[in-house]
């Protein structure tokens, strides 16, 4: 895999606190992983709200009208940036 370089620009999803809304910047990982994430609604540019993040263990996010649980390790591979405030968060 050519994209071994992990570009750590911007915080990862695992560091976003409960209740905060963010936008996905970049997703790292192999084809299989990215494809699974994409089929559940995770794509660069997608907005999501972190529903639950206790700082340890898996987290819950809400995106594209769906609640998705993902492991902390998986969340670390998703880089995010603050979503621009547009009123209702969509």
């Amino acid at each position: 895999m050519a994209s071994k370089r992990i570009v750590q620009n911007g915080p990862s999803l695992s560091s976003v606190r409960s209740g905060e809304s963010v936008q996905i910047r970049r997703m790292n990982g192999g084809h299989q992983f990215l494809s699974r994430l994409a089929s559940l609604g995770f794509t660069p540019g997608a907005r999501l709200q972190v529903v639950q993040n206790y700082g340890h263990g898996p987290i819950i996010v809400h995106l594209r009208d769906t609640r998705v649980a993902l492991g902390r390790g998986e969340a670390k591979k998703i880089l995010v940036e603050r979503a621009v405030e547009v009123g209702d968060g969509r």
Partner: protein
């Protein structure tokens, strides 16, 4: 997929049944998980459904028929998948079926409450050859969440029929089939708005398409293959590389693919952009800030502390149900039905040689008894599992347990079946079906027999007080703790050395909670139970008879039987644990059912029915160290044949079944020997 082509009509052309003038259609049901697809399927097919496996796969295949006027609809329930890209065998099955068998219509069941993500699958279905009808399910749930969806607007955007429904209340399902009927008769126009690749990747796709055209095998569309290559689909990539393209040609394709490794996300983003255009006019969204039922329940159900407590409470109720309802029923069946049958059979066979009645009463009827008496507990477990899955709780339980299961390289989902093992290992092994990755499922199946089942507890409860007096309770808890520690250690070791491989990523939808559907649950319980009776049941019966034969031949006395002979032959192994040959035979007899150990000891020590007599006899031949060793072996020994039978049924592999048996044999014997030698020194 061979052998299944005979009855399937060719692309859209309905197979006319000349004899009665009726028309047969093949309709495939597709949909993401948690959209109510199985409710739709159950409503349409009822008990007419046939459960089997997809050819060459371990995934369950359900088919059934539905009659609609003069029309016979052959329904095929495709596995629930989020996309059609090869992430698991489910996706491969779903897309191969549609591409190779070309059903007349694919009904895409979508959940109106999460339409945006659900239409992603539809965006992958539309480019395939079969016509698509969208079943817009759960419109009531969407309305409850405050969403307004206009089906006609969605229909106009998609260019394919959209039928609103509430399958759980049997609303709209007939209309769905009516629409399918009218579509195939050409009464409805069909002009699908097929999504196209995003502009920035169109040229690359064309390039790949030009390179593979002419090399793509028959039913696959070349442009679809090119798109899957661009997405990095593992199955299609391997197929084109190894079977279809000449090496030089593949190198050219490969070079392009390497330059566009990020295409997978571009393609997916393009699909979501298309979805966004489809729903823009059709869906009006609620203001955020409204707190839904799911959000309120999840504050507790997924909380690190409350979530665990709620899970513990639910499992406590399951235990209570098993012991309060299941066990008495089990005993009643054993005493009245099986006991009654045995009595009648003994009476009828009185005039015949004693081995005939022995075979019938102690072999066949006792074996059938084992099968039947398992049923009440299994039905309870199946019902609870189906209920928790149906209301949407199961995903929460998995979420809460995920951090603990990670230690063994497993996900939260594996916890549920393992817990069921405390009641009985059989539903634990069968219950691993809820685990989506094959590797994790196999590991869970291998670990399940190490959970101490109720029958093994019964043996401890009988034996521990004889040797350990007031310490008995402590010893019992110690043995349970030991089993769980062994389970965890073995889990870590197998994960590290035997079933190596990436831990499948933990990404799981948490579906909305909704009211359970009794019909769906009923059908599932009925199917699982009858499947157990048919498959595992027949194997248990045969093995019970075989063990009876070995415990009877050659002279009809267990003390001098081949089984006893085997016990005596194995006495040197027993001696390492301080166990006389009778105890070895008791372990062998526990293969039929764990509680058999005690009954066998009763026969071998000639104490008959008196429990006190047996306890006294055992106290005479066993030292406490040997008794402890016996209990350790008993806890971790080869599972009973019912469990072995379902391990074979669920793994579909004698190899893994043998591995499980061998593993437990080694663990239990080394544990027993170790404990005995250690306890003797101390």
């Amino acid at each position: 997929m061979d052998g299944s082509t005979q009855a399937v009509p060719v692309n859209g052309k309905q197979a006319m049944d000349v004899l009665n003038g009726s028309v047969t259609l093949t309709v495939a049901l597709a949909g993401q998980p948690n959209v109510g697809k199985s409710t739709v399927f159950n409503l349409l097919t009822g008990l007419s459904q046939h459960v089997g496996n997809w050819p060459g796969k371990t995934v369950e295949q359900k088919t059934g028929t539905y009659r609609h006027g003069g029309l016979t609809i052959h329904l095929v329930d495709l596995p629930g998948t989020y996309s059609l890209t090869a992430n698991s065998q489910e996706e491969v099955i779903a897309r191969d079926y549609i591409i190779k068998e070309r059903p007349d219509v694919v009904v895409a069941v979508v959940n109106a409450a999460s339409l945006e993500r659900n239409l992603y699958l539809v965006s992958e279905l539309l480019p395939l050859q079969s016509r698509v009808v969208v079943g817009l399910n759960m419109v009531d749930v969407a309305a409850g969440e405050g969403m307004k969806i206009e089906p006609q607007v969605l229909e106009a955007a998609l260019g394919v029929p959209v039928v609103p429904m509430v399958a759980a209340k049997n609303q709209g399902v007939r209309e769905l089939m009516d629409t399918v009927d009218r579509l195939t008769r050409g009464e409805i126009s069909y002009e699908p708005n097929v999504p196209e690749i995003r502009a920035d990747h169109r040229d690359v796709l064309d390039e790949i398409c030009a390179l593979v055209t002419g090399w793509v095998p028959a039913p696959y569309p070349a442009d679809w293959m090119a798109l899957k290559l661009l997405e990095g689909d593992s199955e299609i990539t391997a197929m084109m590389r190894d079977q279809c393209l000449p090496v030089e040609q593949w190198d050219l394709v490969h070079e392009i693919l390497m330059e566009h490794e990020d295409a997978v996300l571009a393609v997916a983003s393009g699909r979501y952009e298309w979805v966004g255009r489809m729903i823009r006019a059709a869906v009006t969204r609620p203001r955020t800030g409204q707190i839904t039922l799911t959000e309120r329940l999840d504050r507790y159900a997924t909380h690190p502390l409350w979530g665990v407590l709620i899970l513990a409470a639910i499992l406590g109720v399951v235990f209570w149900l098993t012991f309060a309802v299941g066990t008495p029923l089990q005993n009643a069946l054993d005493v009245y039905v099986i006991g009654g049958l045995a009595e009648i059979a003994s009476g009828l066979l009185a005039g015949l040689p004693s081995w005939v009645s022995g075979l019938v009463v102690d072999g066949i009827i006792a074996g059938a008894g084992t099968v039947v008496t398992f049923l009440p507990i299994l039905v309870i477990f199946f019902a609870v599992l189906a209920l928790l899955e149906d209301v949407g709780y199961m995903a929460r339980a998995a979420y809460v347990m995920d951090r603990f299961m990670h230690l063994m390289g497993l996900h939260g989902r594996s916890f549920i079946p393992l817990f069921l093992g405390f009641g009985c290992n059989v539903p634990a092994v069968v219950g691993t079906r809820i685990i989506d990755s094959r590797r994790a499922r196999l590991l869970t199946i291998l670990l399940a027999p190490m959970v101490p089942c109720a029958a093994r507890m019964a043996v401890i409860v009988f034996l521990a007080p004889i040797f350990f007096g007031r310490m008995a309770t402590l010893v019992a808890w110690g043995l349970i703790g030991m089993s769980l520690i062994v389970l965890a250690v073995v889990g870590v070791l197998i994960n590290k050395w035997v079933l190596k491989g990436e831990l499948a990523a933990f990404i799981m939808e948490l579906p909305l909670y909704h009211r359970p559907n009794p019909r769906s649950i009923g059908i599932q319980v009925w199917q699982n139970s009858s499947e157990f009776l048919k498959k595992a049941g027949s194997l248990i019966l045969v093995m019970s008879v075989v063990i009876w034969i070995f415990s009877t031949l050659p002279n009809g006395e267990i003390q001098t039987s081949y089984l006893a002979g085997l016990g005596k032959a194995l006495a040197p192994v027993g001696a390492l644990m301080g166990l006389p040959w009778e105890m070895v035979v008791a372990l062998l007899a526990s293969l039929v059912a764990k509680e058999n150990s005690i009954a066998t000891l009763g026969i071998l020590f000639g104490s008959g029915e008196s429990a006190a007599g047996l306890q006294a006899a055992l106290a005479g031949v066993l030292t406490p160290a040997a008794a402890l060793a016996f209990l350790v072996v008993q806890m971790l020994f080869i599972p009973c044949i019912a469990t072995v039978a379902v391990i074979r049924q669920e793994t579909k592999s004698w190899g893994w079944t043998a591995f499980s048996v061998g593993l437990l044999l080694i663990i239990s014997l080394s544990g027993g020997i170790g404990v005995y030698q250690l306890a003797r020194v101390l």
